[in-house]
């Protein structure tokens, strides 16, 4: 895997325009408008900006998930460990039919299903509730082991974490175990937006690879590059995709 130099292949983000619930299918260029329903015109949380391309590529090109059967045992699992800045996640889920577009307008209200951190018991298709950092990857390891114990070799498990989140020691526990057990169905995407206070000398990917993972880095805004990286599945080793992003573009 190499760092892709090409920028996103879907063009510039469009300005806000009123949304109509009756106008699917939604494209990547609709996402800013969907996010604006939650945040207001022109406002974008940096943490949402850093993940929007990754989430779109996952749901548009990679994940085998179906909003009409969110509990299908043969589905791929996506665990958003980095639960901060979830408006991009909600926008993608809405664009893909998991939640009604109109629900976005209720973002963070008392009776809304959409809060500042996702809740799996409220939102269809959301695999885990997240917010406190360092929980998603250990759970993803358990999900992968659960699939293995069920004899389900087809589904893949994707977990998205942040580079700052990687500071949490629980991730290192999970990285070590997944590597030693050779969990080939597991792919971790690390959003590298330089939010880690002390940095990662030697690079983030090397921390995984020394534990028996395969993987490398990719431009986190390049859809073709992300797709190519996320399609790779090493049958014998878990995969890490370190996605370099610019949070405040």
């Amino acid at each position: 895997m190499v760092v892709q130099k090409e920028r996103r292949d879907s063009g510039k983000l469009l300005p806000f325009r009123p949304m109509s619930p009756a106008s699917p299918p939604w494209s990547f260029n609709d996402l800013p408008n969907l996010m604006a329903l939650m945040l207001g015109d022109g406002k974008h949380a940096p943490s949402a900006d850093s993940t929007i391309d990754i989430l779109w590529v996952l749901y548009d090109r990679i994940l085998r998930v179906n909003p009409d059967a969110p509990d299908d045992p043969l589905r791929d699992r996506f665990l958003l460990s980095k639960g901060h800045g979830p408006v991009s996640f909600y926008a993608v889920l809405a664009a893909k039919g998991f939640i009604p577009i109109d629900e976005l307008r209720n973002f963070a209200q008392y009776e809304s299903i959409l809060g500042h951190h996702p809740d799996r018991l409220l939102i269809p298709g959301v695999e885990i509730s997240s917010g406190s950092l360092g929980h998603g990857l250990p759970i993803a390891v358990g999900v992968t082991l659960g699939l293995r114990a069920r004899g389900l070799d087809g589904p893949r498990v994707f977990c998205l974490i942040g580079d700052g989140e990687l500071d949490e020691g629980t991730n290192n526990e999970a990285i070590a175990l997944a590597g030693r057990l050779g969990l080939g169905a597991l792919t971790v995407i690390v959003v590298r937006n330089d939010s880690c206070y002390y940095g990662w000398p030697g690079g983030i990917a090397s921390r995984f690879i020394v534990e028996g993972w395969s993987g490398g880095e990719v431009d986190g805004h390049d859809h073709a590059g992300l797709e190519a990286a996320l399609l790779v599945r090493d049958p014998l080793r878990p995969t890490v995709v370190v996605a370099q992003t610019e949070a405040n573009r």
């Binding site: 799996r120 929980h135 993803a140 659960g146 629980t170």
Partner: protein, 303 residues
């Protein structure tokens, strides 16, 4: 079941049997206990459902959560401080908050590993878990009760904590989730609630005293109805962990009744003692003599 079986040996035997009969069960360990399950053959028979994650307790809970998402019923085991206190946020968020369940089985109780020091002593486990909604907390006083708890928990999907101990009562009450009357005192006699392995010392301490005695092994949810039915206006609560852990439950049960409550348990103090559990019991007033010295004056039986 043999008369001499320890609670921990019972846990190993029954869990191994349950793994053999239920494809839904998984056992997730963090090194502690893996030797016993290897010895009994469970690891070899179920390599994909018996997992040692190494000395990584937070991961143990996270992995159990993932198994539960996939429809499994995880059993976790370690010393109480490493099972409850160290990964507490994982218990809170990865299990209960996700709407998932698991069976936690701890060993070591408050100070069964007395000589190991404070790091392996855990009088606060029940109080800590009692801050989480929906947990069933079992404090068995006999290995037969451990077996009943485990077999019942294995069929459920909720969060269950089973607290094993070295000390066992002479009598067992398997499958009882409510207060069990042990001794009926005269009319208006004070009620002593003995929790789990505290029953034997309570019986020894109160011999010849006009008291009602009830046994309780399931402390959450608390049997408020049973408490109201058996209690008069004086209650003594004897728990083998942090003093007062269940006092608020008794107070809620008797909300509309003027009453006095004496809570006995492990005092809240930073301890720096080794030795034996019996020495700790003596020092903390939790042996028969210590209990008698506190209970009799409270109920006015020392006059």
């Amino acid at each position: 079941m043999t008369a001499s079986e320890s609670m921990r040996a019972c846990f190993t035997r029954v869990t191994s049997e349950l793994l053999d009969t239920s494809e839904r069960l998984v056992l997730v360990l963090a090194d502690i206990g893996i030797g016993s399950f290897r010895e009994i053959g469970a690891l070899e028979r179920h390599p994909r459902r018996v997992l040692n994650v190494g000395i990584r307790e937070q991961l143990m809970v996270g992995v159990a959560s993932g198994f539960a998402i996939e429809g499994f019923r995880p059993i976790l085991h370690s010393y109480a401080p490493f099972l409850v206190e160290r990964p507490f946020e994982q218990l809170k968020l990865d299990l209960g908050h996700q709407g998932l369940g698991a069976i936690l089985v701890s060993t070591g109780a408050s100070y069964d590993a007395a000589s190991e020091g404070r790091t392996h002593q855990c009088p606060g486990d029940v109080a800590l878990l009692a801050t989480l909604p929906g947990w069933k907390i079992e404090v068995p006083g006999h290995a037969e009760e451990v077996e009943a708890c485990l077999r019942k928990a294995a069929t459920g999907s909720d969060c269950v904590y089973i607290r094993l101990a070295e000390r066992q009562n002479e009598q067992s009450f398997p499958g009882q989730s409510r207060l069990v009357p042990i001794r009926h005192g005269g009319e208006g006699a004070p009620l002593v609630v003995a929790v789990g392995p505290m029953m034997q010392p309570v019986l020894d301490a109160t011999a010849g005293v006009d008291l009602s005695i009830a046994y309780l092994s399931e402390v959450r949810p608390f049997d408020a109805e049973g408490c109201r039915a058996m209690a008069g206006s004086q209650v003594v609560l004897v728990e083998p962990y942090l003093e007062g852990t269940t006092a608020s439950e008794v107070a809620k049960a008797l909300l509309n009744r003027p009453h006095r409550l004496l809570s006995i348990g492990v005092p809240l103090a930073e301890r720096h003692r080794y030795g034996t559990p019996a020495e700790h019991d003596r020092a903390l007033g939790l042996d028969a003599q210590g209990l008698r010295e506190r209970i009799l004056p409270f109920v006015g039986a020392d006059r």
